[in-house]
Each structure stands twice: as C-alpha cells, then as structure tokens.
C-alpha cells in the first residue's frame, strides 16, 4: 500500500496511458489490422494505352516512365547489377511490366552443371507482407522469367559442339537406345524443367509464407519474354488485370499493390535465394478515363 500511495497522480496517468496504448497496439496486432502503411516510396504507375507492346525492345517502351529501384548487392569482383528500371502499361484487360537491368554477360545455357542462367522475377501482394514469400494471410504471386526457358537455349549440340557419344550407336549408325536415357535422363523421362523449349518462359508461383512456394503452371496467367541488347536484359511480363486463378491478386485502380523485383546473374552462379532484390514499391493502376 505504501508503494501505491507513493505513486503520484501524474505517474498513475502516465502508466494508464502506456497500458492503454500497449493494449491497443497488441489488439491491432492480434486482429492483424495493418498499421504499417507504405508512404513516400517508389511508385510504378500502370499507364493506359490502346495496345500493349509485349516485345521487350519495342520502341513504344521508350515513351513510358520508368522507376529506378536500387538492388541490394554484394561486393563481388564482377560488375553486379546495381539497379533495375521498371515500366508498366495496361490496355484495360492485361498489364505488361517491363524490367531492364545491366548484365555484362548473357547466360542462357544451363546444360552443364557449372552453368547458371540469368533470371528475373517480380512479386505482387495486395498488402505489405514479409519479404520472404508473403504470409499466411497475405499471399503473394511471383512470376519468374528464366533465360534458359526461352526457345533454343537447351540445345546439346550448341552447348557441346564437339560432343561424341561412344558406344551408343551400332555399326549401321542407328542409335542402340531408342531413348536418350543415358545422356539426357531428365528430358527422356519427361521432367518439365529439362524440356528443350517451354511454351512460356515464365514460371507462375504462389506463396503464403515461407516453405509454401508452389508452382502453379497449370493455370499460368503470366507470359513473358526477355531480350538481351547492348549489355542489358529487358524482360516483359504480361498478365490479365483480373485474378484469373486462386491465389492471384487482382489489380484495380482504387487498390494499389505492393511489388518487389529480383534479378539473377548466372555468370556469378546466382540461383534460388542468391540474387539481387529491390525493396517494396507500390504498383498503381491509372484510373480509367471517364466516358
């Protein structure tokens, strides 16, 4: 009781205010009422155009505003990618997002174990989520373009021009094995990752927290194409504005999305989590013109 009487009214008041704030803070956290709001951050505006340019080097992209996002980099002896510039357009049905970054080497062959291809990815989320693959209540969509998934980049003869397979053909020159099981086992058994050319060089992934990253290529709404020119990669991702498949986020003018981008430099043996990433940026759809 003596301690209670020693506490002044001011101290009681202060303690009450602190406890009330702490209770409010924890209540908002438990019920996941997001107090964290991105503001004064880079914002990519998805401008409306009558026709979408889907080719990465199309002249139409030169007229579109680009947002420069710094990449988190590590000190490497090779000149790393330092920044990625992002442009976005929509025709009202689809959106196209173009990434451009410097890369001194074009790495598209990944047939040898020591080879790694260049890649680019973008992550979309309806709310601010943890960087690591979103959260249970905040799913993210990821589209990952892979240079070695574009046509003609898994040609054995191009990778090994002097290749000679001893003992796999008979005296008549015909192959002894009807299937190339020994030299290309993954391809022969139908492993999708070993296919010579993909219809779409973009993998569609959904995630709702760490260890939940799942390929959703059966209903892949995303397409894309990359082009290398003068020491730069340019990649265009295209997707309908509406959420086509479960787990996809829809883009609407009144609800900006969170977006983050990553690029991989195959020359530096980057793959999986070894990559350059940007911080979150806001993706805002330009409002439709009034009729």
């Amino acid at each position: 009781m003596r301690i209670v009487t020693r506490i002044s009214r001011k101290q009681w008041f202060a303690s009450g205010v602190i406890l009330a704030l702490l209770g409010l803070a924890s209540g908002l956290a438990v019920y996941q009422f997001g107090m964290s709001k991105p503001v004064a951050t880079p914002t990519i505006i998805v401008r409306r155009v009558p026709e979408l340019p889907t080719e990465p080097l199309a002249a139409a992209w030169r007229r579109v505003s680009a947002v420069v996002l710094p990449l988190a980099a590590v000190s490497t002896p090779n000149a790393p990618a330092r920044q990625v510039s992002v442009q976005a357009l929509t025709d009202g049905k689809q959106m196209a997002i173009r990434l451009e970054w410097q890369d001194t080497t074009r790495d598209v062959l990944t047939l040898r174990p020591q080879d790694f291809g260049d890649q680019a990815a973008m992550m979309l989320s309806a709310q601010l989520a943890n960087a690591c693959m979103g959260q249970v209540d905040v799913p993210v969509n990821i589209w990952q373009w892979k240079a070695d998934w574009q046509s003609g980049t898994r040609d054995m003869a191009a990778a090994f021009p002097n290749m000679y397979t001893d003992g796999f053909t008979g005296d008549d020159g015909k192959p002894l094995l009807t299937e190339d099981l020994f030299t290309r086992p993954a391809f022969t058994v139908g492993n999708a990752r070993a296919a010579a050319a993909k219809a779409v060089p973009v993998e569609h992934l959904v995630a709702g927290g760490f260890s939940t990253l799942t390929a959703a290529n059966d209903n892949n709404p995303a397409t894309g194409r990359g082009a290398y020119d003068e020491g730069k990669w340019a990649v265009v991702f295209t997707r309908p504005l509406d959420a086509g498949t479960p787990g996809d986020v829809a883009l609407a003018a009144q609800a900006p999305l969170q977006s983050a981008f990553a690029v991989w430099d195959g020359h530096q043996m980057q793959r999986d989590g070894m990559k350059y990433v940007t911080a979150w940026a806001v993706l805002q759809l330009e409002a439709a013109p009034k009729q």
Partner: protein, 322 residues
C-alpha cells in the same frame, strides 16, 4: 510536459528495438527455421509481438514528436505536423504516387528545417559534421524519391537521369556519419577529455565503462563480418529490408560504420541520454524509408535534436502575455 520527453523517449527506444529485431530481422529469417509445429508457434508469437511493438512504437513516436514540438514556434510545429499527418493519414492501404509525392516534399521541408536547427544546436564540430552527413543522406533519399515520383506522375519518358547513382551515393554520407559521431568517443577513450569542442554542460555525464562501449562496437563489427562471410547474399537482403541499405559500397565501409555507430551511440546515450536516443531513433529508422513509422521516427529524432525543451515557466509566461 517537458519532463515527459525523456521517459517517453526511453520507452520508444526499446519499442523500436523490439520492432527492429522481431519484424525487420526475425520475421524475414523465418524461411530458414525448421517448419515443425513448435517452431511455427514460436515464430507466430514472436512476429505478433513484433507487430505489437511496431504499433506501440508508432503511437509512441507520435507522442514523442508532439512532446518535442510542445510550445515551440507555430511555423516549426506546422511544418513537422503537416509531414507527420500526411505520413500517418494515408488514404487506402498504400499511398498513391501523388500522395507519396506530397509526403516526400513535406518530409524534405520538415527534415531540412529541423536538421539545420539540430546542426546549430549540436555540440562540437564532430557532431555537427555527423548530423550534416545524416541530413545530406535524408535530403538525397527524400529528394530523389520526390523527383522520381514527380517524374512518374508527369509521365516523363524513360528513367530519371542519375536516379540510381544518386540513391547509391546517398548511402555514403549515411555511412560516414557514424564515423564522425564516434570521434569524440574515441578521443575520450584515449584520455583527451571533453574539452575539445564537446559540450560539458550540467547535462553531461562523465562516460563510464569506456572499454564496454568499445567492446560493443567491436561486437557489432564482428557480427556483421560473420554475416558477410556466412551468407553475403542474405545479409544484403536483410540490410535492404531492415534499413534500406543496398550494400553497394565495399564491405569495410559498412563494417566500420556499424562499429563506429554502435560505439559512438552508446557513448552519446550515456553522456546525454535524450540527445543520444534521438540520434539512435534516426539511425534505427534507416536510409531508404518505406513505412509510416520510419518517417515518424525520423521526424521525432530530428525534432528532439533541434528543439530544446521549453521550460514550464516560459510557457506559463507566454500564456499570460497572450
């Protein structure tokens, strides 16, 4: 009201640390922990505690800013209040480009105004220099951010010239500032005393446990060096998402800055708690600021450094006069 500045600031300091450790660092390394039930439960409890710390630090940040601005000139209060209000009351889940542009411009104005005042009020040339460098980093960050937002809002073609180079360059003054901040502490460690331009007013306390501060700095350097060596890529990702640093400069810069920052800050907090904690808020907010709470921390930190508490007698006198 002025008597509440320091207790509120201390509480805010620990709330921001809890948020920094649990939200900005722990929640993002969750990908590497085992996925069994108990680990997941601990992870969820820890991240919810982190979210609580975030919300609490946001509320306290506003309160500390209000206490710092209490009874000061209306122009200063309006400048900082406008920036804080715009950062807090974002329409929708995320700010649009135009709203972000308004906030960026308001933040540039408020931080520049408060920053100049903080440099004037700083003790000695080293601290003035350190604050000038931090102010430069903030001016570059907000300035380039505002320019890019205007570029996009006006639909200018292509990318803004030098935007990436400027943003990377802005990291450099942010890294050099802790080195200058640590100089007085190093001089003290070497037995040179405070009589070399550092204030020695009644608020100053003689630094104790100097070796402990130095060990703190060394531990910080060792921790970051180990992180670099174990997994440089993840270290870069964490640096980007926790403090907005891209780690584009050579690694020794970051090691030195972290060591000097930990050492100098601990020394500054011991010597003048309010001053040191205000600096700490600015450093913990980061370089490339992303969410509302970080902007509030920056405003509160600069306001505390720039604006001395107005004595109650002066407030009462002014009230009588008016």
């Amino acid at each position: 009201m002025t008597g509440w500045r320091l207790p509120a600031l201390r509480l805010l300091w620990w709330a921001v640390w809890a948020e920094f450790l649990l939200v900005r660092l722990f929640s993002r390394v969750g990908v590497y922990i085992p996925k069994q039930g108990a680990f997941l439960t601990v992870y969820r409890v820890a991240t919810t505690a982190g979210e609580t710390a975030f919300n609490f630090s946001l509320f306290l940040g506003v309160a500390v800013l209000a206490l710092a601005l209490w009874a000061h000139r209306p122009l200063v209060v309006a400048l900082a209040g406008l920036a804080a209000g715009a950062a807090l009351f974002t329409p929708g889940a995320a700010a649009t480009a135009v709203w972000s542009l308004v906030v960026s411009v308001a933040m540039v104005a408020a931080v520049a105004g408060l920053g100049v005042g903080a440099i004037r009020a700083a003790d000695g040339p080293w601290e003035k220099g350190a604050l000038a460098l931090v102010l430069t980093a903030h001016a570059v960050g907000y300035g380039v951010g505002a320019a890019q937002l205007a570029w996009v809002a006006l639909a200018a073609p292509g990318q803004m010239p030098l935007a990436g180079a400027l943003l990377r360059a802005g990291e450099l003054p942010a890294l050099l500032a802790p080195l200058l901040l640590a100089v007085p502490a190093f001089r003290e460690l070497g037995g040179r005393g405070l009589g070399s331009g550092q204030g020695s007013g009644p608020a100053d306390r003689p630094p104790a446990g100097r070796a402990g501060y130095f060990a703190l700095g060394l531990a910080a350097v060792a921790g970051l060096a180990v992180a670099y060596l174990i997994n440089a890529d993840i270290t870069a990702i964490l640096a980007m998402y926790s403090l907005g640093f891209g780690l584009n400069w050579p690694a020794p810069f970051y090691l030195l800055a972290l060591g000097a920052g930990a050492f100098g800050l601990a020394w500054a907090i011991r010597r003048q708690p309010e001053h040191g904690l205000a600096l700490g808020l600015i450093f913990l907010a980061g370089y490339a600021l992303h969410v509302n709470q970080q902007h509030i921390l920056v405003l509160a930190g600069w306001a505390l450094l720039a604006l001395r508490p107005v004595p109650a007698a002066v407030v009462a006198k002014e009230a009588v006069v008016s």
